[in-house]
């Protein structure tokens, strides 16, 4: 690990002041940042400790939504009575991720910003455009079993590894930030992540020193919610494919559908076309197949991840069937 200057922020204002100086990183739970610093994939000169900021509350909002502090640990969020009641897809996604120990440390803000688990990104002996812009992407012709099938570019085919962020995308979450100049921003999760294009090292729209302070969930959506994660082990493994789904059936027709996917793309993936293929249709195989077709129309495998295309199709259909079983 490269050495660094350390300071602890007492207020969000303190934190962004510190964060505004180049090559500084916030540390929240540290479960991703320290992992990467040990391997010298991240080499910040300064670390601002945000773990003691008073951003650890989950509060009901006037409009019926929920405001979650960026420092709320994943474990506490998953077990929060209001999340269990109104946003079970979020509890389920959190509980499907990492381990009990990691969830106790991992923060809501940090989880959105965890970096890819691409093997080449982790191996500093080989090139990687995300780690060293312009050096190349060995994953395209190499081992790419865990890599993306949607939203890839010539420069990078890595996936975003989070489970939590997939549920957050299905729930139309808004991220609230504080910038070093004191401005606050509200960023829809649909605009938060960037496609890799030819700059895969830039992953979100956050500016230097910008701090996520809160996350806001709109009022509970109508319908049933589910999170299904397919992985190599029954527990403690990243997703090969995951589906967060919220589906409402009214009068024998699908009235509302929100679908987000993990393991498929460089960001938690959302497909309006797949949702449109369901709305107004009877909750039957034909509509589910059409949704899978729409989702996967542009899917592209790179060899060892080709299996993700049929796997995604089957997982989506199974989730939709489970969610609508007694409504049909």
């Amino acid at each position: 690990m490269k050495t660094f200057d350390y300071s602890r922020a007492d207020t969000p204002q303190d934190a962004v002041k510190g964060g505004a100086v180049g090559n500084t990183r916030f540390i929240a739970g540290g479960t991703n940042l320290l992992d990467l610093m040990k391997l010298q994939i991240e080499t910040p000169e300064r670390i601002v400790d945000i773990s003691r900021l008073a951003l650890n509350e989950v509060e009901a909002m006037d409009d019926g939504g929920l405001r979650i502090g960026a420092m709320v640990p994943n474990a506490d969020l998953a077990a929060h009575p209001q999340v269990i009641k109104a946003y079970p897809v979020l509890s389920r996604a959190l509980l499907a991720g990492a381990s009990g120990q990691l969830r106790n440390k991992a923060s809501t803000g940090g989880n959105f910003l965890q970096r890819t688990r691409c093997y080449y990104f982790y191996d500093t002996a080989v090139p990687c455009n995300k780690r060293e812009p312009g050096s190349g992407c060995p994953a395209k012709e190499g081992f790419n079993r865990i890599h993306a099938i949607l939203g890839t570019s010539d420069a990078c085919i890595a996936t975003h590894p989070s489970d939590m962020a997939v549920a957050m995308r299905a729930l139309d979450t808004t991220l609230v930030t504080l910038k070093p100049d004191g401005d606050r921003r509200r960023i829809s999760i649909h605009e938060f992540y960037r496609l890799p294009g030819d700059t895969p090292h830039i992953e979100t729209v956050l500016e230097e020193g910008e701090l996520i302070t809160h996350v806001e969930l709109p009022p509970a959506p109508a319908g049933k919610q589910a999170y299904r994660k397919v992985r190599d082990r029954a527990s403690y493994a990243f997703a090969l494919v995951s589906v967060a789904a919220i589906v409402a059936v009214d009068d024998g027709k699908i009235a509302n559908a929100s679908l987000a996917f993990g393991g498929l793309g460089p960001m938690p993936w959302r497909s309006e076309a797949a949702e449109a293929a369901l709305i107004g249709k009877a909750p039957e195989r034909e509509a589910f197949e059409a949704a899978a077709d729409a989702l996967l129309a542009d899917a592209k495998g790179f060899g060892s991840n080709d299996f993700k295309i049929p796997l995604t199709r089957r997982t989506l259909i199974a989730v939709l069937r489970d969610l609508t079983e007694d409504a049909a």
Partner: protein, 166 residues
């Protein structure tokens, strides 16, 4: 820097990069916590911070100066074993023993989480009663690997104590 570990105060002056695990082992001589992977993947370094189980390899010592840290040395001693420790002995919950301190610290934190009603990935309902079935114990302990694969006996030991607690 000042630390409170197992109720005892310690002063130390480690390099800023020192993980909590290295502080315990290399600076304070508390070698009960083990280093398996140093990357959050094995659970051998599990300790309790303010009663919550965490991986001590993935956090900086400097971040924990105001916390109550409990390591395996604070859970019990050879003459005065904690109930979980005796249960591991009774059920042969180990072979080489390397993962054991982490297993026991993790199980201590896990039983507390279950008592608070926290659901797990395998819980049928998110807000129902938590009965620590073998399936629940396995899922909740999945962050602790055992190279000797003593898993069946680890589950037996934890189940016995979970039953007493209930």
């Amino acid at each position: 820097m000042h630390f409170t570990i197992n109720g005892t105060k310690y002063d130390a002056d480690p390099d800023i990069r020192t993980s909590l695990l290295d502080l315990l082992r290399e600076h304070l001589g508390l070698t009960g916590s083990k280093k398996g992977c140093d990357h959050g993947q094995c659970g051998a370094c599990t300790v309790l911070v303010n009663g919550r189980r965490i991986n001590s390899c993935l956090t900086l010592a400097v971040m924990h100066q105001d916390d109550e840290i409990t390591t395996i040395e604070g859970i019990g001693t050879p003459d005065n074993l904690a109930p979980l420790q005796s249960a591991f002995v009774r059920h042969d919950g180990f072979q080489c023993g390397y993962c054991t301190p982490g297993q026991i610290c993790s199980a201590t934190g896990m039983l507390d989480e279950a008592k608070k009603g926290w659901p797990s990935h395998v819980s049928e309902s998110l807000d129902g009663d938590i009965a620590l079935s073998d399936e629940e114990i396995r899922e909740r302990m999945s962050g602790n690997l055992c190279r000797c694969s003593a898993y069946p006996n680890i589950v037996d030991a934890i189940r016995e104590i979970a039953g007493e607690d209930a």
